[in-house]
C-alpha cells in the first residue's frame, strides 16, 4: 500500500537482491558497529558492508568473529558500550548465537539482527526454512517479517527505531534465497540524513544526555553494574519484558509504522489482509509464500471465487487481535508454515488457534508444512492449497484428510533397490604401507580410493590432498568431515562419493564427534563387539578450525586417538571466499576488500600448528602435495601415533582455483611456491621435538613471498604489485621471523 504525505522524503530506484537491500539499510542507518560471521544465505550482507568500509563509505566498526557466537558477543559488547549495532545470520548461525539472545534482550540492549531464514536439520541443507526463526519466539526479541526485498530494506529501518525506543533487540526475518537472492526493483532513500532524522539520536547520545533509560559501560559518570547475578527478583524482569512487548504492540510499533509511511509512502500493518474478509476460506502464510498466494487470490477473484489471505508482519509481539480480525468470516483456515513441530501442532497454527478461541471463533484450522529446505512455493502451490481448503476434509488422498500434514512431499518407491556398485573396502586391500618400508608411489597406486568421483571444482586441492594422505593410511577408516567444500561436494542425497563409513555433524565439531566415536570403538573392542582396527580421521577446512578451534585444542589436550587433517585453502570457500584467520595478510576476501581504506585481510596468517604446540599433543605436522612422499610418511606416522593411543593433527596446503582466480593447471606450481616462500613450512613436531622436513634455503630454492603470491591467482596477485610494497615488506619480515624461529627449534634437542 502506498500513501502520499507532505513529509515524504526523496527516494531513488534501486536494483539489488534482499541481502544487498539489507546492506543498504545498514549503511543508511549509520550503525556504529557490526559483529559478523558468514553463513549462507545471509553472508552477502556483511560482504557489502565490508566493501563500503574498504571504499571509505562508512566509518562503522566491523569485526569478523571466529563464530556466530563470537560475532554476537562482539555486538553485545558494542551495545553494552552504547553503540548502534547490527548483526546478520541464518540457521545454524542463529542457533550458535542462541545463548546470547536472551542475554541481549534481558539486558535491554537494542540491536537489529537480520535473519535470512534457512532450514536447520540433518542432513544439511542451506535453503529456506523457518525452523531457525521459530526458535526465536520466546527469546524476548521483537520479530519483524519482511516478505519482499523492499520490505527487507524498510523493516530494517522500522525495526531499529522501535528497538531503540522500547529497549529490546529486534530481528528482521526475510526468506533465504527466495528474498535474499532475489533481485528486485525497489525504492531506497536518497539521503542518509533523512533516515537518520527518522531514527533519531543514536543510543550513545541519548544515554550520555540522560534521555534514555538504556545503560552504557562507557558512561563512567554514572557507573552501572550490568548483568548482575540475580535470584528471586528475576521473576520481575519477566514482567518488565512483557510490558515492553505490550508497549511496543499497542503504542510504539503502530506509531513508527505510521511515521515510516509518512516519509516513504509505504504503509505496513501489523498484519496484511488480502482478498475477501467475508470469504469462507482463508490461508495464513508468512513472507514469500504469502506474496505468492496474493497472485492466487487475484486469479481466483478473476474467476469470481472469493478467498482470504492473511500475512502476519509481526510475530513478536504477536498482534493477535489484528490477526483474529483479519481472518474475518472464514470457516476453514489453512495455516501454511515453513516449519513444523513434530508430534504437535505447528507454531503459527497454535498461536492462531489460541487467538481465535479468545474471540469465540471456532473456525477449523488446517495445518500444512511446506517448502522446508528451500522448495519453492509458487502460485500453483497456493492455488492447490486454496482448492484443498475448499474441499477439505472431503478429499480422496488419506493424508490430505489429515488436519496436519506436509505439502510437497513424496512417498518413494519401496521396491526401488538399485544394484550394488561398490563392494566395501577390505582390510587386506589396504595393508600396503605395512609391507613397505618406505612410501613407494608405484605400490601405493594399488591403495583403493576411499572417496572418489566427487563434485568439487576441477583443480581443487581438497581431494588431491585427502587421497594423497590416505595412501599412507592402512586398514579401515572412518571419515568425519566438518561442513565446507569437501563435505558439500562429496555427498548429495541420494548419492555419495565415500566408499568407507562417513559422517558429517556440524561445521565446527568433527573433532568432538571423533572423540565420541573413538571412545565407543575402544569400549566395543574391550567388550569384544568390534575387532577391526579402525582409524578415525577428521577432515576440515581452515575455517572449521576457526569456529572449531576450541574443540580441536580440547581433543589435543585429551590426547584422543584420532587424526585431524585440516586442508588450508585460505578462506571460507564453500560460502563464497570469506576471510579465514589462516588467510594471508592483504589477501582479497569477499568480506575483506582492497580499496582506498583497506588493503584486504587485516592480519597475518594464523598458525594452527604453533597454537597446538602448547597442547603437547604427540604428533603435529604440516605437509603439502608438492612433497608427496613426505605427506605419505606423515600419514603413516600419524596412524602409528593413533594406534599407540595418541592424537595427531596435520595441516595441508590446498588450492582453490575457483575463489583464488587461479587456473587449474597452475595449482601444483602455486603449492610449490608457497612452500618455497616459507609461507607453509613443511615440518613436524613429534613428541615435542620439531623437525624441518624440507628446507628451501638449503636447496637454494627460497623465494620472496611476493613471488609466491604472484603465482596464486587474482585473490593474491595484487600483493606483488608496487602499491603493496610496504605491506609486503612487513609480511616478508614476519614470515622470515616465523621461519627463523622454526629453524631454531628444528635444530634444538629440547624444542
Amino acid at each position: 500500500m502506498t500513501t502520499t504525505s507532505d513529509k515524504i522524503k526523496s527516494q531513488v530506484r534501486w536494483l539489488g537482491n534482499g541481502n544487498e537491500a539489507v546492506a543498504q539499510a545498514v549503511l543508511h542507518c549509520c550503525y556504529d558497529g557490526e559483529g559478523y560471521y558468514p553463513i549462507t544465505p545471509s553472508s552477502e550482507v556483511g560482504e557489502e558492508v565490508a566493501k563500503a568500509i574498504a571504499a571509505g563509505k562508512t566509518d562503522m566498526k566491523y569485526v569478523i568473529g571466529t563464530s556466530e557466537l563470537a560475532a554476537i558477543g562482539i555486538c553485545t559488547g558494542m551495545a553494552l558500550a552504547g553503540g548502534r549495532v547490527v548483526d546478520v545470520t541464518s540457521a545454524q548461525g542463529l542457533l550458535l548465537k542462541y545463548e546470547e539472545l536472551s542475554t541481549v534482550s534481558g539486558l535491554g540492549l537494542p540491536m537489529v539482527l537480520n535473519l535470512s531464514t534457512r532450514e536447520i536439520n540433518a542432513p544439511l541443507n542451506i535453503k529456506n526454512g523457518h525452523s531457525d526463526l521459530m526458535t526465536m519466539l520466546g527469546t524476548g526479541w521483537l520479530i519483524f517479517m519482511a516478505p519482499t526485498v523492499q520490505a527487507a530494506y524498510d523493516m530494517n529501518i522500522i525495526a531499529l527505531k522501535v528497538a531503540e525506543e522500547v529497549l529490546l533487540p529486534a530481528v528482521v526475518a526475510y526468506d533465504g534465497f527466495h528474498t535474499s537472492h532475489a533481485n528486485r526493483r525497489i525504492q531506497v532513500f536518497e539521503n542518509t540524513q533523512d533516515v537518520q532524522e527518522f531514527l533519531g539520536e543514536k543510543p550513545i547520545d541519548r544515554i550520555l544526555s540522560g534521555k534514555s533509560k538504556q545503560c552504557s559501560v562507557v558512561d563512567t559518570k554514572n557507573p552501572k553494574t550490568m548483568g548482575p547475578y540475580m535470584n528471586d527478583d528475576l521473576m520481575n524482569t519477566k514482567v518488565v519484558m512483557e510490558q515492553k512487548m505490550e508497549h511496543a504492540l499497542n503504542v510504539v510499533i503502530p506509531r513508527v509504522l505510521k511515521e515510516f509511511a509518512e516519509i516513504s509512502g509505504r504503509e505496513y500493518g501489523l498484519v496484511q489482509q488480502y482478498g475477501d474478509k467475508n470469504a469462507a476460506t482463508c490461508m495464513v502464510a508468512l513472507n514469500t509464500a504469502g506474496e505468492a498466494a496474493k497472485d492466487a487470490v487475484d486469479l481466483l477473484d478473476r474467476k469470481d471465487e472469493k478467498v482470504n489471505l492473511v500475512i502476519p508482519m509481526l510475530l513478536r509481539p504477536w498482534p493477535e487481535n489484528q490477526i483474529s480480525d483479519a481472518v474475518g468470516a472464514a470457516k476453514k483456515i489453512l495455516v501454511a508454515e515453513r516449519a513444523t513441530q513434530y508430534g504437535a501442532n505447528n507454531f503459527m497454527a497454535n498461536e492462531l488457534g489460541a487467538a481465535l478461541q479468545k474471540k469465540g471463533n471456532n473456525a477449523k484450522i488446517i495445518q500444512r508444512t511446506y517448502g522446508m529446505g528451500g522448495l519453492n512455493f509458487r502460485l500453483d502451490d497456493a492455488l492447490y492449497l486454496y482448492d484443498l481448503i475448499k474441499k477439505w476434509p472431503n478429499v480422496e488422498d488419506e493424508n490430505e484428510k489429515r488436519e496436519k500434514w506436509y505439502y510437497g512431499v513424496w512417498a518413494g518407491d519401496p521396491s526401488y533397490n538399485p544394484p550394488v556398485v561398490v563392494e566395501p573396502i577390505k582390510t587386506e586391500d589396504c595393508s600396503i604401507n605395512a609391507k613397505l618400508e618406505r612410501p613407494n608411489l608405484k605400490e601405493l597406486s594399488k591403495m583403493p580410493n576411499r572417496i572418489e568421483k566427487h563434485a568439487a571444482c576441477p583443480g581443487c586441492g581438497i581431494f588431491a590432498n585427502i587421497n594423497l594422505f590416505l595412501r599412507g593410511i592402512d586398514g579401515q577408516v572412518i571419515l568425519l568431515f566438518n561442513t565446507g567444500c569437501g563435505m558439500v561436494t562429496a555427498t548429495g542425497f541420494p548419492y555419495t562419493s565415500f566408499k568407507v563409513p562417513y559422517a558429517h555433524n556440524l561445521f565446527h565439531n568433527a573433532s568432538s564427534t571423533a572423540t565420541g566415536i573413538v571412545e565407543m570403538i575402544d569400549k566395543f573392542k574391550k567388550d569384544n563387539k568390534v575387532s577391526d582396527d579402525i582409524t578415525v580421521i577428521c577432515v576440515s577446512g581452515d575455517g572449521g578450525d576457526d569456529i572449531g578451534m576450541d574443540q580441536v585444542i580440547a581433543a589435543a589436550l585429551r590426547n584422543d586417538p584420532f587424526i585431524f587433517m585440516e586442508y588450508d585453502n585460505k578462506g571460507y570457500m564453500n560460502t563464497g571466499a570469506q576471510m579465514c584467520y589462516s588467510g594471508f595478510k592483504g589477501q582479497k576476501n569477499s568480506n575483506a576488500h582492497v580499496g582506498p581504506n583497506q588493503q584486504g585481510k587485516l592480519t597475518h596468517h594464523k598458525d594452527i600448528i604453533e597454537i597446538l604446540r602448547g597442547t603437547y599433543a604427540p604428533y603435529l605436522f604440516q605437509a603439502a602435495e608438492s612433497q608427496p612422499i613426505d605427506m605419505i610418511r606423515k600419514a603413516r606416522r600419524a596412524q602409528q601415533i593413533v594406534r599407540e593411543g595418541g592424537f595427531a593433527f596435520g595441516k595441508v596446503f590446498s588450492t582453490c582455483p575457483l575463489n583464488w582466480g587461479l587456473e587449474e593447471a597452475r595449482c601444483p606450481q602455486a603449492v610449490a611456491k608457497v612452500v618455497d616462500a616459507c609461507l607453509h613450512p613443511l615440518y613436524e613436531i613429534d613428541h615435542g621435538k620439531t623437525t624441518l622436513n624440507y628446507n628451501p634455503e638449503e636447496k637454494g630454492k627460497k623465494i620472496a613471498v611476493t613471488e609466491a603470491f604472484a603465482s596464486m591467482g587474482a585473490g593474491f596477485a595484487h600483493l606483488a604489485k608496487p602499491n603493496f610494497a610496504t605491506l609486503m615488506e612487513e609480511t616478508q619480515k614476519h614470515v622470515d621471523y616465523r621461519w627463523e624461529r622454526l629453524k631454531a627449534m628444528s635444530g634444538s634437542t629440547v624444542l
Partner: protein
C-alpha cells in the same frame, strides 16, 4: 519508457519469462542480472531476477531466470520461473539430462549454444512449438576472447528487441576492461545464428513444469536419518562430466616412467587408470580436465606422457594465450 517497448510475451499475470540454463562459472548469473538491469533502466520495466542457488562450484548446473513485466504490475512470486517463454541454453548437452522443455510455453523462443541445426536441436529438446536459434557461442567467445555469456546475451537482447546500441553501451560500461572483446562477441552472435520456426505439428506435446528430481526415494523408504547406502548409491556409477572442464589430457604410454606424480596431484585420482602399479590412461567418466597431472608429469628423454589435448585446454587451464 515502457510505452515505447512491448514485451514479446505475457503470461496471465503479465510477465515475460526467461530461463537461463548453464553450468556454474559460465557467467549466466551475471548475464541475467545485467539483463534485468537493462530492462529496468532502458525501458522502465519491472520484474525480477531469481536464481536457484545451491552451493555453486564450477560445473554445477544453474537455473537462473529473469521475469519482466510493465512497471506497476505487482511482482510477488519468488524463485525461478516455471513457465518460460524464452529458454537460453548455454550448453546443448544440458538439454536432455535437465529436460529443459519442462514448462516451456507454446511458441517459445529457444536460444542454444550449439553447432547443430535448429531442426536437430528441436528434436533434442522435444519442443512443442516456437523458434529455435542456434549459434556456436563457444567458438564466438573463444575467437573474440570474450565469455560464453556475451554471445548468448546478445542473441537474447536481439530477440527481446532491446535496442542493440543501447545494450552495447551498457555492456561496455558494466565491464569496461573487456569492453572490446564483449562487443565483438555481441556483433558476431546475431550474424552467425541459424534459426527455424516450428508450428505445433503434433510431434511433441507441451510439457508442463515439474521439479527435476528423482522421487524414487521418499518418506516411506528413506534410510534412517537420511543416510546413504554407499554400496548402492555411489557416484561411482555416474558420469561426472558436468563437473569437469570438458577436456581430457592426452596420455602416451610409451613416454610414461611410472613416477606416480600424476596420482599425487590429481583432483580425483580415480581418473587415472593405474593397473598393477602402472599408469595406463585416463577415465573420461571421472576426469575433471583440470590438467594438474599435465602440469606435474615430467619431461624426460622419452618425452612427456601427459599432455594438453589441444591449445584451448591449455589456454583454459593455464591462462596462457595459445
Amino acid at each position: 519508457m515502457s510505452q515505447d517497448y512491448r514485451l514479446p510475451y505475457k503470461d496471465d499475470l503479465g510477465f515475460c519469462n526467461i530461463i537461463f540454463s548453464a553450468i556454474g562459472g559460465e557467467g549466466a548469473n551475471m548475464a541475467a542480472k545485467l539483463l534485468f538491469k537493462l530492462g529496468v533502466e532502458m525501458f522502465d520495466l519491472d520484474g525480477g531476477y531469481d536464481a536457484k542457488y545451491g552451493s555453486e562450484k564450477k560445473g554445477t548446473p544453474t537455473d537462473v531466470s529473469v521475469r519482466f513485466c510493465d512497471y506497476g504490475t505487482p511482482v510477488r512470486s519468488a524463485g525461478p520461473t516455471t513457465q518460460p517463454h524464452f529458454l537460453v541454453a548455454f550448453r546443448e548437452f544440458l538439454i536432455r539430462p535437465l529436460s529443459l522443455n519442462r514448462g516451456l510455453q507454446a511458441n517459445a523462443t529457444v536460444i542454444v549454444n550449439s553447432t547443430k541445426s535448429p531442426e536437430e536441436v528441436r528434436d533434442i529438446l522435444q519442443l512443442n512449438s516456437g523458434t529455435v536459434i542456434c549459434l556456436d557461442a563457444t567458438d564466438i567467445a573463444a575467437k573474440t576472447h570474450s565469455r560464453l555469456n556475451m554471445p548468448m546475451m546478445a542473441m537474447l537482447c536481439y530477440e527481446l528487441k532491446f535496442d542493440p546500441e543501447k545494450v552495447k553501451e551498457k555492456v561496455a560500461k558494466q565491464w569496461p576492461k573487456v569492453a572490446q572483446a564483449n562487443l565483438a562477441a555481441f556483433d558476431a552472435a546475431v550474424a552467425q545464428s541459424k534459426r527455424a520456426t516450428f508450428k505445433d505439428d503434433g510431434k511433441y506435446p507441451l510439457v508442463s513444469f515439474t521439479e527435476h528430481r528423482d522421487e524414487r526415494i521418499g518418506y516411506l523408504n528413506m534410510p534412517e536419518g537420511g543416510a546413504i547406502d554407499a554400496t548402492r548409491f555411489s557416484t561411482i556409477g555416474k558420469n561426472n562430466r558436468l563437473s569437469g572442464t570438458g577436456f581430457f589430457p592426452k596420455f602416451e604410454q610409451a613416454s610414461c616412467i611410472t613416477c606416480g606424480m600424476c596420482m599425487t596431484v590429481c583432483s580425483d585420482p580415480g581418473s587415472l587408470k593405474w593397473v598393477d602399479g602402472k599408469m595406463t590412461g585416463i577415465d573420461e567418466n571421472y576426469c575433471k580436465g583440470c590438467m594438474r597431472c599435465v602440469a606435474i608429469c615430467p619431461s624426460h628423454k622419452k618425452g612427456k606422457a601427459l599432455q594438453f589435448p589441444c591449445p584451448e585446454a591449455e589456454a583454459l587451464t593455464t591462462g596462457k594465450k595459445v
